[in-house]
Each structure stands twice: as structure tokens, then as C-alpha cells.
Subunit: 169 residues, 4 copies
């Protein structure tokens, strides 16, 4: 994964910003129920930002009294990014951080949400409380993923189901 | 609801911006599965923004190949807002728009998500394709809501459950 | 709502079972994170069950370490019901119960999930710890709902969006 | 993975039932929006069922007009199982099937939901339309998972956050 001083294509300077920004993002987490603050940062390819806008978009978890209705840091960050005009191909790396000494990974729901917009080789850095990290690619975190190419068009599904009915009748 | 030329406290000029911004937000919707574009706009109280930042935050729906993993325009907008530092008390009005002639309301999940950050009197404007609207307050859209004050502290719940066990034993 | 000794069409005997079953269902709640046990019960129309099967289907909340991934009692019960072959028109009344003295209502996400399978007049009984209740219809809990009839066919949406593009070009 | 004629501990006869039941379950899928029918089956350890009850619990996807509110086959099946009294340790294998010739995996949200109740070695069989399959363990589908042991107690989180505040002050 390390080559020419880059980790999965990310420079030391970029990694530094990715780390700082997702640790910083934890401060705005709204998590009165779990008290588990999570920050996320998305590093954009330079080409996908204008020079004035920052190359990082951040998010934090936003909980709800009805737990299943809340959302995670990674999804808040990615939602903000998509609405800012970014898309599949815009993202160079993802950062996630918590208040733990241990390294925490994105939950399965966030892996699935990210999968729609990340190429399989994009690295996801998991930072602990002190900024140390482990890193895995999108594909490593969600192997055999159910990605956008997996859902067949309605027309095809209709045909399969009609064939099946015909067989039974 | 109308008083002194205001609708639920919102001026004609504010309503105009709320409408334009949520119609504009639809353009960035990522909805290859439903093709149902939704835009959302959040009008902030002037006091909760610095003079330079815009008084409106927007969002659009972001779908996923696994349908339940996607999210709605209203939640994307509110997630962005919370991460920008806004909170309960920051919001003056909400706007939602679709491509329909009919007026579409926020889904129940979004009503619940919004409830955490909106006072019960905050108006939610539902704009149709042409910018005509109907309006309801947070309370009208989610009566008898399960809000943040409804979830009892763990300590209290623990006590109730221990009492119950003692009764059975 | 009360007529001929029935409350929203539900007899005293049926209400008794609805209450008992949703209070009983709380026991199997998996809620190590919130400790907030919720039970749900679905009363079926007699016509939609065979004589041998019970006229009530129950559920309880099932939480997850990633809070947004968990699910509520009402949705577990309704998922079980749909997979058992029931559908729109099968349900006569819904019951929900918690460990509180206060009456707790279904969260907005559950109201939306239920809406797909409940007619607007179906009553939802909210039981407190002791079995006392308040009751509201589906329509009262989710007014102006975004129901199954609201989502337009993809073909129609495609047409609207193409018209719009043509106007801009 | 194959040993003594067993695949991940599952016999040919059990695998046959797992396959048939999850293909059968697709019939009750409620998926008017995607038309993508999914069936799921959960094979229980014999010890965790009484002799009269069936050793398999099934589910199918249940969609909603608001796409994010719907749920997947795997979660419906597991919700039913938990409410039937099963728990971590009760499950021997999981089956998932679709109408495709291709093999489809559970979405990330379902992997996360299942993770709460499956040991890491439990196999998940993905059946195609004709009953052919590929198989992966829970751990293979959700590596480095955010499981129940990962979420620290509120007390610990409170302490970390207070320490941090003290440092800043
Ligand atoms: Zn997550
Ligand atoms: Zn919504
Ligand atoms: Zn709920
Ligand atoms: Zn799923």
C-alpha cells in the first residue's frame, strides 16, 4: 500500500489534514444518547474542487431519540459532499475518528453508503484518539459488495418474474 | 398562521428564497433508482448565522443500490446544518420541493429526524413543481411526537425493570 | 371513536388481547444500548387468518451497536406479518407499549413503515406500563402522509425531467 | 471450509433446506418499487429450537414509498428470530437468494445488523436463481467489524470527554 512515500496514493501532508479535520469534526457531533463522538473527513481530488474551496469535507454523527433514525459521521459528510456537487470519482481518501484508543471502523451501513461513491481502491483511514491509524480500502471493508452495478433494471426483473410465473402456470 | 404579512413568522422575501433554494437543490439529487428528485432548504434565524454566511442550508436526496441505506433531502440538509454548528432553536422554517404538481410532504423518518432540532411551531413549506405551497408546523406533521424529552434516562429504565423482576420473583 | 361498545371498531375483548400481547412482547426486546423496551402487537382481521393461527402478531425493538442500524418493535412486528402473507387490508388495530407511565407514540419512521400497510382509519393504541392507553388513527399520527400512492412512476418523472431540460436548453 | 462432508459445519441436507427456504421466501417479498425480490433463511442450531418448531426462520424484503424506510430480507428474518427468543449463538448458517443468475451479497446495513447476533465464523450462503451458491463467513463479509463489543460504556466516554475539556481549559 505504501509507494513513493504515498500511502494508497495519499501524501503525508494530505494524511495530516485528513486526520486533523476528522478529529476536529468530532466537536460538533450531536450524540446525547451514545456519547460516542465520531468525526469523518473526505479528501477530494484536487481536480474536483475549485481553488478557493477546501479540499476536505467533514461530518459528525447526528443521533435521534428514536435511535434508528439518527445518522453516522461518514454519511453526513458524504451527503454534504454529494449536495456540493461531488460524485463517484471525486474522492481520494476517507478519514474516521473517535474518542477511543482502539481503532474504530465505519459501520456496515456507512460502508454501503460510501460504496456508491467510492472506487474500490479508495483508502479509508481509521484514526484513534491520538491520531494513530490503520487503513483499509473500500473493497477490503466491504468485500463482494452490493454496489450500484448489482441492482438490475426493473425491466429485466419483470421479465424474470414473468418467466417464473409462466413456468408455474 | 398569517399575521402582519408574515406566514408563521416568515416574510415574503424569506419565503421566496426558501422556495428558490429548495427547487434549485433538486438539481444535485442523486436518485438513479427512483428518479424522484427532492430538494430541501433550511432557513436560519439571522442570529444564528454570522453576517457573511448564507441564511439558508440546502440538501437533496442521496439514494443507494440498497434502498434502505439511502437518505432524503431533508436529512441531508439538516445533517449539514448540525455539522455547521446549528442546533435546536437555529431554524426558522423548512422548505421541501419535488418535480410534482401535487404537494409532497416529508416522509415520517424525516419528520422524526427534524423533530430533534425544530421547535414544534416551526413551519414546513411544501412546494410543488411551480413553487406553489401548502404549509404545516412541525407539530402538525408529527403530532404526539416521540421527541428528545420522551426517551427516559437509562438509570430510570433500569429501576423500572428491576422492580418488575422483583415482583415476578 | 367509540360506537356500539367498540373503539374504532375494536371490541373490549380484542383490546384486552392487543394490550396483553404487546406488553408481553417487551420481554424479548434486545435493547442493551437504550434499555428502552418496546413491544408491538398487530391485530388481524379474522378473515385474514386461518382458524388455527393466532389473530395477533407481535414484535419488539432490536438494537445495534451502530444505533441507526437497529429497528423498532412496530417494524419488526409488521415485517413478520408481511412475510407471513398479510398485507394492506389485513390489519384491524395496532398496539404499542413501553415501561413508562407516560404514553409513548411510534417514532416517525415506524409511522411511515406502517403507513404502507394500514388504511388511514386503523387505530393505533399506545399503552403505558399499566395498560392504560390513548388511541389515534394512522391518519392522525401521520397527517398528509407520503404514502404508496404519492410516489409517481419512473416514466412520469422521466418525462417531467426531460421537459425541464428542454426548457433550459 | 469443507470438512467431513460439511461446509462450514453445515450438512448437505441442511444446506438443501436453507436453499429451498430462502428461494421460497422470495414469493412474499413486498417490493413494488425495485421489483428486486430477496429471500433470506436462518438455520438454527438444533439445541436452540424445541422439537416441534421448524429449524429455519425466513424473511423477505419489505419496501416503502420512502425508500430509506424499507427493510431487507435478512433483517426481517433476523427480527422475527430475535422476537421468537433466539440470540447470539442460536444461528448455524444464513441463506440469501435473489432472482439473478449472479450471486448477490447482503448489503452493508444487513451485514451490520446480522453481526450483532452471529459469531464471526457463521457462514452466509448466497444463492443465485438456480440454487447455486458462493459462501463467506460473517467475518469475511464484514472485516474489522464495529460489533457490540466496540461501543464503549457511556461512563467511559464521559470520562474521556471530560479529560479533554480539562486539557483545553
Ligand atoms: Zn455508520
Ligand atoms: Zn424522508
Ligand atoms: Zn420506530
Ligand atoms: Zn440489506
Amino acid at each position: 500500500a505504501e509507494q513513493n512515500g504515498l500511502i494508497h496514493g495519499v501524501s503525508a501532508a494530505e494524511l495530516q489534514v485528513l486526520c486533523e479535520k476528522c478529529i476536529e469534526a468530532k466537536v460538533v457531533a450531536y450524540c446525547p444518547y451514545s456519547l460516542f463522538r465520531v468525526g469523518a473527513s473526505l479528501l477530494l481530488h484536487t481536480s474536483s474542487t475549485s481553488s478557493s474551496s477546501p479540499p476536505i469535507i467533514t461530518g459528525a454523527n447526528v443521533e435521534n431519540a428514536s435511535y434508528p433514525v439518527g445518522t453516522c459521521a461518514e454519511r453526513v459528510a458524504m451527503g454534504t459532499a454529494i449536495v456540493s456537487g461531488h460524485k463517484l470519482g471525486s474522492f481520494k481518501a476517507i478519514g474516521v475518528s473517535t474518542d477511543m484508543d482502539d481503532f474504530c471502523s465505519p459501520c456496515g451501513m456507512c460502508r454501503q453508503f460510501l460504496r456508491e461513491f467510492l472506487e474500490l481502491h479508495v483508502p479509508i483511514f481509521m484514526f484513534n484518539r491520538e491520531g494513530k491509524f490503520i487503513v483499509r480500502t473500500m473493497e477490503e471493508l466491504l468485500p463482494l459488495s452490493f454496489g450500484p452495478n448489482k441492482l438490475p433494471p426493473r425491466e429485466e426483473l419483470k421479465k424474470v418474474q414473468e418467466e417464473e410465473k409462466a413456468k408455474i402456470a
